[in-house]
């Protein structure tokens, strides 16, 4: 009897072992379907689809030359995905350690089999890999310490995919220190410029740029309004050899003041003012190589409002002036709206109108502009502006001055002034 039991136990184990891959799969499946208790947190993003251009050819995407962004509805030509897996490692009382990871994939959506080798734009990238410790410092209750590669408190405009304050990268820091009237965050982050060649040097070396980021957020200054102040100091971190060879080590500051107003026409408004000098001209990372000395001023005002129960939309206005000592600066102005009319909980019609204008600093250089209009019929899970996944069938029309440049990514001949594209796209986040 005893022996039989043993045998049956063994054969049962054999059965389990043989089926281990399936068992693993089955165990993982619930985490994909928002089960009440999930051991691994699965977050992610994807967009993909298919489109064409009037006159034949693959879908063209339109962007004004020199502009920091393009309006995205019906104007995205690639497949992009982010897969995030995170898990709690430790928890005792309020103390908690959490590991997070993210791999990003991009391809030109041309084939079934697109190897992520870097050819034809198909790539994968290790974007996040970090651990955050919450409440682990007894002297700073509520504060988090973290280290690793990370998206760090990024601020974006959704409808043109523009990240105006983004210092993401490898780093370490302490977040959300309660200072009574707000929260203080400190971080040290890195970006590196590859194959930097010194004057007269033959081979390139990498130059590490450091950014020190200080933010004071959650300042209540008016009813339903919050203010955030940010200071980023960036500089090149040269080694002795680079120092000896007199590498450029551009440094600079980026100041940010940001105000968020909630209870604003059924949504919110977010206004950011930024001023940057020299190496920090840009969106957060220090550049030693490409940027000349100078200064930059930027205003980004955006919001999502709900005018009626069936009409919701996002708007943005951007003004960015780069005044560089080498006369290569520019002024970029951008305005866009995306109203969405909801027919019911699932179907909506979205219209996106975007205008970009780039005026080079150098006298004599042509000012370019681009207007893009997209009409899309959307089917989404829920009726919010933010409801995803969404499947949209779209038609996009863009207009620019073909004598100056070609705004289209493909399928439109140089010299043409306009383009019409159509297609179906899916966008999801979870």
């Amino acid at each position: 009897m005893h022996r039989d039991n043993k045998n049956s136990n063994r054969s049962r184990w054999q059965k389990i072992k043989n089926n281990l891959p399936y068992i693993t799969l089955i165990c993982c499946l619930p985490s994909l379907f928002s089960s009440p208790v999930a051991a691994v947190d699965f977050h992610g993003y994807l967009r993909s689809g298919i489109g064409g251009t009037q006159g034949g050819g693959d879908q063209a995407c339109f962007r004004a030359q020199g502009a920091g962004a393009k309006y995205r509805l019906g104007n995205e030509c690639e497949t992009y995905a982010e897969i995030q897996l995170g898990q709690e490692l430790y928890k005792e009382g309020e103390k908690r350690f959490y590991v997070d990871s993210m791999i990003a994939y991009v391809s030109n959506q041309e084939n079934d089999w697109e190897e992520l080798t870097g050819d034809n734009g198909a790539k994968s990238s290790l974007r996040q890999m970090y651990v955050i410790g919450e409440n682990v410092l007894d002297s700073f209750p509520g504060a988090n310490i973290w280290a690793g590669k990370r998206y760090y408190q990024r601020h974006d405009v959704h409808i043109n995919d523009y990240y105006y304050w983004d210092v993401s990268g490898p780093g370490a820091g302490i977040e959300n220190i309660d200072v009574g009237f707000g929260e203080l965050s400190l971080a040290w982050l890195r970006n590196t410029e590859n194959d930097y060649q010194a004057k007269g040097g033959s081979s390139g070396t990498n130059v590490a740029n450091d950014t020190f980021d200080i933010r004071l957020s959650d300042l209540a200054i008016n009813e339903n309004g919050k203010l955030e102040l940010g200071l980023d100091y960036g500089r090149a971190n040269l080694n002795t050899e680079q120092d000896d060879k007199d590498f450029d080590d551009n440094k600079g500051y980026l100041f940010t003041v940001q105000h968020t107003q909630s209870n604003w026409f059924g949504g919110y408004n977010k206004l950011a003012l930024q001023y940057a000098t020299d190496g920090m001209i840009g969106t957060g990372h220090n550049q030693s190589r490409d940027t000349s000395d100078g200064k930059m001023f930027r205003i980004v005002n955006q919001g999502v409002i709900e005018l009626t129960e069936n009409l919701e939309g996002m708007y943005v206005g951007i003004y960015e002036k780069k005044d560089l000592d080498n006369n290569q600066g520019q002024t970029w102005m951008s305005a866009g709206i995306r109203p969405v009319y909801k027919w019911n909980d699932v179907m909506s019609t979205a219209l996106e109108v975007g205008y970009d204008r780039v005026k080079p600093q150098a006298s004599g250089a042509e000012t370019v502009d681009l207007t893009k209009v997209t009409l899309a019929q959307q089917w989404s899970a829920g009726r919010s502006f933010w409801a995803r996944p969404v499947i949209r069938a779209f038609a996009t029309y863009a207009r620019w001055d073909g004598d100056d440049y070609n705004a289209a990514s493909e399928s439109i001949e140089t010299g043409e002034d306009s383009g019409l594209t159509f297609g179906v796209q899916v966008e999801a986040w979870w």
Binding site: P36, M102, R154, W386
Partner: protein, 308 residues
């Protein structure tokens, strides 16, 4: 072939394709919306007033109207101002009551209480076949899970109903969904969709307050009832039912029989004993007991006990 013809074909085909997809999707909209219900549009105050004005349907749990549930079904439950109400120990509440499938495999029941401007914070009462309470699921058994994929904002809970001993009268047979007076005072803070986007993209969420769903006396729930499709013997993950019977009452006492009935059984037993038909006398005693004849067993025992 001239590639231009191909392009032209592609152009017309694409337009045709988009239009077809649009038409099909339009026709299918009703099915799509049916998958995830819309939250209740009744305000918290209206619901409270409606509850106060409603007349309690019954005096006993056994008297509620129990609807039959079929396994494998997805059910949309609307608890509204027309729903029946009952005075539970935790306070008066609108309810929905169900009889669970008896001749089924063990069941996994998932309940989503759809959150919008208001939400129904559910309590689930499970009872055995004799209406004795076996479990009360409430509080943390239902947790807020933000909208994700095709699931909207909701309070979610999942539990298992064991059917490994078919026909056992202690099997959980009845289920009542209601809410408590204490729960109706509370509220659930939802995740703002703009913040959900920021979390998914790992951006800094906008500094705006989250929407709040007030707990209401009415609401919309979705119930999914799945039957385990393995036989008892195949299941390696068998866990005995986590059922305790804290309030297991004695078996219900049936109403006493009429004196005429009592006389009838007593006479019949006497006659059977006189004929020496012991088996018949015993059957009569059992039958009389079921019919509510008091002391009929003692009556029989007294007559068959050898006198000292």
């Amino acid at each position: 072939m001239d590639p231009k013809i191909y392009y032209r074909f592609f152009r017309y085909f694409s337009v045709f394709f988009v239009l077809t997809v649009a038409t099909i999707c339009r026709a299918d909209i009703d099915n799509w919306t049916a998958t995830w219900p819309t939250p209740s549009a009744i305000s918290q105050q209206q619901a409270n007033e409606g509850l106060a004005a409603s007349v309690v349907c019954c005096q006993q749990l056994a008297g509620l109207l129990y609807q039959t549930l079929e396994p494998g079904k997805q059910l949309q439950i609307e608890i509204n101002l027309d729903s029946p109400s009952y005075s539970f120990e935790s306070g008066k509440s609108f309810f929905a009551a169900y009889k669970l499938p008896e001749n089924a495999n063990s069941l996994t029941i998932t309940l989503y209480s759809i959150a919008g401007k208001t939400v129904f914070k559910p309590t689930v009462m499970l009872m055995d076949s004799q209406f004795r309470v076996t479990r009360l699921l409430r509080g943390n058994d239902f947790q807020y899970r933000p909208a994700k994929g095709f699931k909207g904002d909701s309070l979610d809970g999942q539990f298992r109903v064991d059917r490994s001993l078919p026909g056992n009268p202690l099997n959980e047979t009845y289920m009542v969904l209601y809410t408590t007076e204490a729960d109706r005072q509370g509220e659930t803070t939802l995740l703002h969709p703009a913040k959900a986007y920021a979390l998914a993209r790992h951006n800094q969420p906008p500094a705006i307050p989250d929407p709040v769903a007030k707990h209401s006396a009415v609401g919309v729930l979705q119930l999914r009832i799945a039957q385990e499709n393995k036989s008892f013997g195949e299941r390696a993950d068998y866990v005995p039912p986590a059922v305790v019977y804290p309030s297991a009452a004695p078996a219900p006492v049936s109403t006493p029989a009429l004196p005429e009935t009592q006389d009838y059984y007593q006479q019949a037993i006497k006659q059977a004993l006189a004929k020496g038909d012991m088996a018949k006398a015993l059957r009569l005693a059992e039958e009389g007991e079921r019919a509510g004849v008091q002391g009929i067993r003692r009556f029989l025992l007294e007559r068959i006990q050898p006198k000292p």
